[in-house]
C-alpha cells in the first residue's frame, strides 16, 4: 500500500488508484493530515467535511476519468448540503440546496468535492484580504498575499494541500493567484463552463475554471467541466472535446503574439526577465514570436470597474435579509431591514463596489459611464479579434509583480484594481487564458513565483494547453516547491 504524497498530479494519482496502490479513502485521509499539518500557517481552507468526503470516496467509481480524485472548491461554488458563503457574513447559516453544474460534472466524472476554500468576499479583490473569515498566506512567503480572489484555491494547490481546486475568474481571479502562488490556472472561454450554482459577481464576465499542479491535470478537469447546461442560457452547445488531444504535440508552425502594451516600464524587473526568457524558450521549441498591438489595453481597468461594479450592484441586490443568510435584528420596518442587514453583512470592499455600481447605473450617468464602457469593451474585443487573425496565442506576464505584502494596497482601491491590469481584458473579450509558472523573482531576498499568461481565441483552450504543456515540460519551474 502506498500512502498519500503531496504534489502528486491527478494523472499519476489515477494510475496509483487504478493499480490499487492507494484507495480513494486513503487519499482523503492523507490530504486531511497534510492540511492539518500545513494549513495552520496558510489558511487556505475555511472548512472541510471529512466524513462526507470519506463516504463519497468509498463509493467513488474508479472507472470514471476522475474516479476517486478529491477536488477543493472555492466558497463561491455550490456543493449540495454544504455551507456556502462567498466568504461573506451576509450568507451566515446558508446551506447550498443543490450542486453547481460544475460540481455535478466533476461528480459525474467520479471526483469527490472536498473542502471550502477561502477567497475575497464575493470574489471582489486581488489578495484574498477581503475575506470575512481569515487571511490566506502565500506558501512561498507567509508575510505575503496569495493573490485573489481565488487565493485559497491557489494556495491549497501550491502547498500540496489539494490535488486540484475550482476557482472563478471575473477579472483574473484564477490566473493572478495561480501566478503568485506558482501553479496552473485556466480561465475558460465565456460560455464554456456553466455558471449555474456559482454565486454571481459580474454575470457577463464570471467563469469557473481549474487550478492544478500541471497543465495535463488542467486538461483532465476541463474534460469534466465543459459543456452546455440548460440551467445557464449563456453556456454554449459545442461538440464534445478532448482537451488532452493536443497535449504532447510540438509547437512547430505556431505563431505567438507578443503584445507591446503588456511589456511596459514599471513592471517588476524579475517578472520582466522571467517572461522574456519564457518567450525565447517557446521560440526555441519551434513557435514563432510575432510582435502585436492591443491598442486599447490601457482602458481595460476603467471599463472593467464600471461594468463589473454595475453588474455586481444588481446581482447583490438579492441579499436583503429575507430569503437567505443573515438578517439584522435591529430593523423595525422593511426598508430598515434591507439597509441594516446589508450594512452588517457586507464588508467594506463590497459596499464600495455596490456604491460605485449604483452610481454608474444611476439616472443621468448611465450613458456617460455604463454605455460608454460597453462601447469601449467592443473596441477591446476587436483588438483581440484582429490579433487572433494573425497569431495562434498571445503571451504576456500574468501580473506586473510577484506577491505583495499584506496591507500594501488595502488603503488604495485603485492601486489594488491596477494589479489586475494584464488579466482583465481577457474577461471583457470573453476569450480563454491560462497562467503557468515561468520562473522566480527575488524580492527582498525571497524567491517568489512568476506567472506566464497565455491567451487564446474563443474556444481555443486545447491549443493553449498544448503550448503550455510543451513549455512546462521543457522547464523545471513546475517542480519547485515552497519550504513549508
Amino acid at each position: 500500500m502506498s500512502s498519500f504524497v503531496p504534489f502528486r498530479s491527478i494523472a499519476e494519482t489515477r494510475r496509483l488508484l487504478l493499480s490499487k496502490e492507494i484507495s480513494p479513502v486513503d487519499l482523503i485521509e492523507g490530504l486531511e493530515s497534510r492540511i492539518a499539518a500545513v494549513d495552520p500557517s496558510i489558511g487556505a481552507y475555511i472548512e472541510r467535511d471529512v466524513e462526507t468526503a470519506k463516504k463519497e470516496a468509498a463509493a467513488a467509481d474508479l472507472s470514471k476519468p476522475l474516479g476517486g480524485i478529491p477536488i477543493g472548491i472555492k466558497d463561491a461554488i455550490s456543493v449540495a448540503g454544504q455551507p456556502l458563503q462567498s466568504a461573506s457574513r451576509i450568507l451566515d447559516n446558508y446551506t447550498a440546496p443543490y450542486d453547481a453544474t460544475a460540481v455535478a460534472h466533476l461528480r459525474a466524472a467520479g471526483a469527490v468535492p472536498f473542502g471550502r476554500l477561502n477567497m475575497d468576499e464575493f470574489a471582489m479583490g486581488s489578495s484574498t484580504e477581503n475575506s470575512a473569515f481569515q487571511l490566506t498566506r502565500n506558501p512561498w512567503d507567509t508575510g505575503r498575499i496569495p493573490g485573489g480572489s481565488s487565493g485559497g484555491s491557489a494556495a491549497a494547490v501550491a502547498s500540496g494541500m489539494a490535488l486540484a481546486t475550482l476557482g472563478s475568474d471575473t477579472g483574473g481571479s484564477i490566473r493572478q493567484p495561480a501566478a503568485l502562488c506558482g501553479c496552473v490556472g485556466l480561465k475558460p472561454t465565456y460560455g464554456r463552463v456553466s455558471r449555474y450554482g456559482l454565486i454571481a459577481f459580474a454575470s457577463s464576465l464570471d467563469q469557473i475554471g481549474p487550478l492544478t499542479t500541471t497543465v495535463e491535470d488542467s486538461a483532465l478537469l476541463m474534460n469534466a467541466l465543459a459543456g452546455r447546461d440548460p440551467h445557464d442560457s449563456t453556456s454554449l452547445d459545442l461538440p464534445g472535446e478532448d482537451f488532452t488531444a493536443e497535449i504532447g504535440k510540438d509547437l512547430k508552425g505556431l505563431r505567438i503574439g507578443v503584445p507591446k502594451e503588456y511589456f511596459v516600464d514599471g513592471m517588476e524587473p524579475g517578472v520582466r526577465s522571467a517572461v522574456d526568457a519564457a518567450v525565447k524558450q517557446i521560440e526555441s521549441l519551434g513557435a514563432e514570436p510575432v510582435e502585436i498591438s492591443l491598442p486599447h489595453t490601457e482602458y481595460a481597468v476603467a471599463v472593467y470597474y464600471i461594468i463589473a461594479t454595475a453588474e455586481a450592484s444588481a446581482n447583490l441586490a438579492r441579499f436583503d435579509g429575507v430569503r437567505y443568510g443573515r438578517r439584522s435584528s435591529e430593523a423595525k420596518d422593511l426598508q430598515a431591514l434591507y439597509a441594516k442587514t446589508r450594512a452588517e453583512g457586507f464588508g467594506r470592499e463590497v459596499k464600495r463596489r455596490i456604491i460605485l455600481g449604483t452610481y454608474v447605473l444611476s439616472s443621468g450617468y448611465y450613458d456617460a459611464y455604463y454605455l460608454r464602457a460597453q462601447k469601449v469593451r467592443t473596441l477591446i474585443r476587436r483588438d483581440f479579434d484582429q490579433a487572433f487573425a494573425k497569431v495562434d496565442a498571445i503571451i504576456s506576464p500574468t501580473s506586473p509583480e510577484t506577491a505583495f505584502r499584506f496591507g500594501e494596497k488595502t488603503d488604495d482601491p485603485l492601486k489594488m484594481y491596477l494589479a489586475d491590469i494584464f488579466t482583465i481584458a481577457t474577461n471583457l473579450a470573453g476569450i480563454c487564458g491560462l497562467s503557468l509558472p515561468c520562473g522566480f523573482s527575488n524580492r527582498d531576498g525571497v524567491d517568489l513565483p512568476v506567472g506566464l499568461q497565455l491567451l487564446g481565441r474563443p474556444f481555443g483552450e486545447s491549443r493553449l494547453l498544448r503550448i503550455a504543456h510543451a513549455y512546462e515540460q521543457s522547464t523545471e519551474w513546475h517542480k519547485r516547491r515552497p519550504a513549508l
Binding site: A302, D320, A336, A343, I355, T358, L428
Partner: protein, 99 residues
C-alpha cells in the same frame, strides 16, 4: 494613498439610499474620496472616439435560448425555507409592511 482631492465628487448618502445600504459617516467620507479617484481614472475613456461603435453586453453573442415548457421537479420547499432567517406556515416572514 493619494491625498490629493479627486476631481469627481459623488453624493454617497444618496447612492446608499438607492442601494438600500446603511453606511456610517466614516464610510461615507472614505468612499467619497476613493470612488472620486476611481472615476478620475475612468475619465481616460473620454479620449476615445466611440461614434458608431455598438455596445458589448456579452462577449459571446447570446441569442434567445428557447426550450420546451416542460414540468419538472422544483427544489423542495422545506430546503428553501430552511435557509430563510425567519419563516412560518410555508412563508418567508418580514416586518409588518402595512399598518
Amino acid at each position: 494613498m493619494s491625498t490629493e482631492a479627486p476631481h469627481h465628487t459623488v453624493d454617497v448618502p444618496y447612492l446608499a439610499r438607492l442601494a438600500r445600504l446603511e453606511l456610517t459617516q466614516e464610510e461615507i467620507d472614505l468612499f467619497g474620496g476613493q470612488i472620486g479617484r476611481v472615476l478620475d481614472h475612468v475619465e481616460q475613456m473620454n479620449k476615445l472616439d466611440i461614434t458608431g461603435i455598438e455596445p458589448t453586453a456579452h462577449a459571446i453573442s447570446v441569442f434567445d435560448v428557447i426550450r420546451e415548457d416542460e414540468v419538472t421537479e422544483s427544489l423542495p420547499k422545506a430546503t428553501i425555507l430552511g435557509n430563510a432567517p425567519h419563516n412560518a406556515n410555508g412563508l418567508f416572514l418580514v416586518p409588518k409592511v402595512l399598518d
